[in-house]
């Protein structure tokens, strides 16, 4: 499934559902107990060779593994075995969208100031258009994870925002 935001022709590419996990620390502080490769700074993201986010630090004691590849699963299992973490399977909880169009930032700004949010942190867990979301980006490719049951509303809202933003006299018209 891919979603095109009509007013700007922005393609939001819905990625296929993959096995995913949330890893939650049982004991804090956890950072000292984790092996190398864990994104331990607030909002840090680990990317795979294809430029996909594979481990996102989405809370002080919480990581999301949206694509449970072997590498990150090994890291996670080690932590679980060591008694540091618990893994919850959350396959299907998040719908991952990828967008390579730069104008998505302007559309998202109808709801959040994405530039300010991602200035200090690689990813952020927040509410976008009233939908629970996780957002990260790398080299202008935005990854937007929306809690699945909200996807229809998210699509409606982002389409409206794009249409409003592209209207004559809208932000692009008023701004010089």
């Amino acid at each position: 499934m891919s979603a095109v935001v009509p007013a700007r022709g922005v393609l939001l590419e819905a990625m296929p559902t993959e096995t995913s996990f949330e890893v939650v620390a049982v004991q804090l502080p956890l950072v000292a107990q984790l092996s190398d490769g864990w994104p331990t700074r607030a909002g840090e993201v680990r990317w795979d060779a294809m430029g996909r986010p594979v481990m996102l630090h989405i809370g002080i004691d919480r990581w999301l593994l949206p694509t449970a590849n072997a590498e990150v699963m090994d890291l996670a299992r080690c932590a679980v075995t060591a008694g540091s973490c618990v893994m919850f399977e959350v396959t299907g909880k998040w719908q991952v969208f990828r967008c390579q169009d730069r104008s998505i930032a302007r559309i998202l700004s109808s709801s959040i100031d994405i530039d300010a949010i991602l200035e200090q942190s690689e990813c952020a867990r927040l509410v976008v258009f009233d939908c629970p979301a996780i957002i990260t980006r790398r080299t202008h490719v935005h990854w937007i994870l929306i809690q699945r049951s909200y996807c229809a509303s998210f699509h409606t809202a982002i389409t409206s925002a794009a249409a409003a933003g592209s209207a004559p006299g809208g932000p692009s018209g008023a701004s010089r």
């Binding site: 949330e22 620390a25 049982v26 618990v86 100031d113 300010a116 049951s149 229809a152 409003a164």
Partner: protein, 987 residues
Amino acid sequence: MRSSSPRCGLRLRDQPLSFSFDGVEVPAQAGDTVSSALLAHGIRLIGRSVKARRRRGVLTAGPEEPNALVTVGMGPALIPNVPATQLQVRNGLAVRSQNRWPCLRWDLASLLQAGGGLFSAGFYYKTFMWPSWRSYEPMIRSLAGLGSAPQACSLAGASLEHLSCDVLVAGGGPAGLIAALSAARSGARVVLCEREPALGGELEFESALIEEQPAMAWVDATQTELEARGVRVLLETAIVGGSNGQVIAHAEPGGLPGNNTLYRIRPTQLIIATGAVERPIAFIDNDRPGVMLLGAAERYLARYGVQVGRRIVIFGNHNRLYPAAMRLRAAGLDIRAVIDTRTPAQLHDSFVAGLREALIRSGVACLLGHVVTAAKGRAAVSGAQIAACCEAGRASILSASRHVACDTILMSGGWTPATHAMLQEGGSAQYLDEVGAFIAVEQPPWRVAVGAANGTFELAALCRQAGAAGLRAARSVGKADCAPAEASGRGDPQPDVVAMWRAAASRADEKRQFVDWQNDVTVADLRTAVEEGFCDIEHAKRYTALGFGTDQGRLAGVLGAGILAELREQPIEQVGVSRLRQPYHPVTMLSLAGLRIGNALRVERRTPLHDWHAAHGAVLEASGLWSRPRYYRTSGGAQVAQAAHEEARRVRTHGGIVDASTLGKIEIAGPDSAAFLDYVCLTRAGTLKVGRSRYAVSLREDGMVQDDGLLLRLAPDHFRMTTSTSHAELMLSHLEYWRASEWAARAVTITDVTDAWSTIALAGPRSREAVLGVLEDRSRAAVSVLQHMQWTAGLFRALPLLVLRATYSGELGYEIHCPCSIALQVWEALVACGMAPYGLEALDILRLEKGYLTHSEMTGQTTPYDLGMHRFLQRSDDFVGRALLDRPAFHEPARPRLTGLRALDGQSAFLAGAQLVTIRDRSHPCGYVTSTAFSPVLGEWIGLALVARSIGLGESLIASDPLRSSETPVRVSSPVHFDPSGERMRT
């Protein structure tokens, strides 16, 4: 005035346009506003005042315009109260004047002027008493109000943008530009908002040099540099409010609502350079078409090439009357007189004195120590009455007056700094005598005013102040890469305002000395307010409507305060100014709503089966944020009752499935998870075996029932809790709270998996066959021997899922928890096995028949005792809510108890919400009905109720429903109406 040749102005383009005003076509040029085009075409009468219906023309050239408000469009979707001074002309635009009937020139209601003081301040409190207010109300309401309210909305939705920046500069005049330039050169991220379509502010007409360049050339160069430095310049965007460090700006392209944008800007530093609003002066008939602010006349000339009159009298109280007179004269206007209220001793500036001499030499009468006492003329200005005053700056005894013929009076009583944004979130107003106005002081460290907004009017000083403010703002955010902008400027002289609020007049004439044009507030009204004890500025404002309306007191606020000070014989500092409210400029409701309109008003959560439901005749309803099937049209009836009865009957006789994916699902894991759940739930988790589940109830700390659901033990240290749909977030928050507080040192983790798992619930005698029918062979054995409340893993087409034997309806039932990716396939397979879907209505009927809680009983005010959960309370250890469960009040006879209800006659209906009263005492309810339904298997209306414990089973009560005018005799019964032994679910 009227001219057929194209006009030249800073904002005009040589492109002819036309629009209609009251049905008459008016030629214009691209860039014109409606007011500039009307003035250029010689049309001066543009509206009528709201109360007295006096003729009104254009007073200003900005958004503070009180008179020239017009209605745009026709039909029900018109847009009223658009300032003609802001409204850009476009071809085909249809504009109508307001507050008149049948036409602008001849208005019937203007006859009310003959009533003299009929509409004085507070008139409606004092008059229209006999025979009653109601007799007059329709007429007054038909006359009241600015314009006509639209009946429909045709506006395009507004867009919204969140921005953040290091420095936000509000205002694109010289001070704003220099401040923005200074901050940007220092490396700060800058956003600049300007409410006009072009930058420059007063530089558009002021004879100024900046950095030795003509002012507008400097403006162009500065704009280019700002854009090159990445400054975001938002034109036609006004700051309209803000709080908590967030600033709200509103863009209204073309001055017409529609296609608006609301900006939510979070600046680290805010520089207010919004300039100042020129102030009028109160004299007799100062509202005649032809009386205008001096600055407005200069703007019309510079921007649009419009000469607002031919024979001009200029009236004011400061130095800048003279350079303005020189410029207007140079443009070809006949300046008849410059009337300066100041005495010769108050004219200090030699440059100004030189200008005055030059004007006198060219034949202009320049009178010091004089005032314009009245505008002459009936439909429009035909002259000015002038008199010498004995005490400059104060209304005083007048000498004999003289008449000067003119068609325009341009007045200027000084300037009111635009301090609106400075008086929110801290900040107070302080009167500056040398400016004759209030400025904002006591500002928080992140906000500063510069330029005219700070009472600094002289260009050189303004440039220094703004440059320093921009640099300071940049430094405060750690930016100081480059040298600041240090523009030098030379422009009009320091104004040297000597405050003067009104010309002296007899009390009778004070009724024609206007202070607030939009609300017809006169000096007489203010005098009445003072005499009747409404002395405080806030009281006087509300009593007279001073500063109400679209301009929010920008024109009239300080003028009214000055006149009140005179009337009260107090310094104006003691009178103060009224509090300024947001929004500072009119904002359409549509802009405030943003994207939250229509279907987007609230988010909707959908289950993975949503599309299937919609495609199979489901009537969906909101259940919290979720959209759930209420019933299916395909179930045997178009009406909800028919369909629901059929669905419920089918579950009892055969079987059915319901989409229960909306139930909250929270997983709790970790070595201490069982102990944690023992603490936060009323029911024990520690004794639950892996592979089993248990009904779980949780209490709040005050002992009230919070929610119920099921608890499944997935592994020794891993549980899944299901919650009711509407309490899922609440329960997650509840669990997180206890985990993060009392249990912070223990090994427990929680995560919400509601969206990861779909839940399909089967019920009915054939449900076992259906479950076994969809599972793979190797799963069937384990599922077929499941006991009540046991679960096991299963396989569906090689994909894992979880099967739990549990019931919502008292029937043999199962829950299938499956990954959402296969929910549709599982559902369709069950349907193919003969399970028909049922909706919430049928589910409620089934639950009610069994006496299961429908959540109307968990109101947050019921205890486990009230709901008959005594069996869970046999615990000796501690748990959330325990401490308060033993309160005596929880055990009083008046406490409610969950009971069943049945109609005494077995047929009559009674509805939820009805109060229960005894036959002996109908005035004191002893309970109320929480839920009811017609039971298709029992063939009668049944219900659940919370009834005082003193009422015994079998007692007769009356379900009294005064709202629906019904009284139904009912009998108190056991809550379990159907299959009380529970035989069916244990089959």
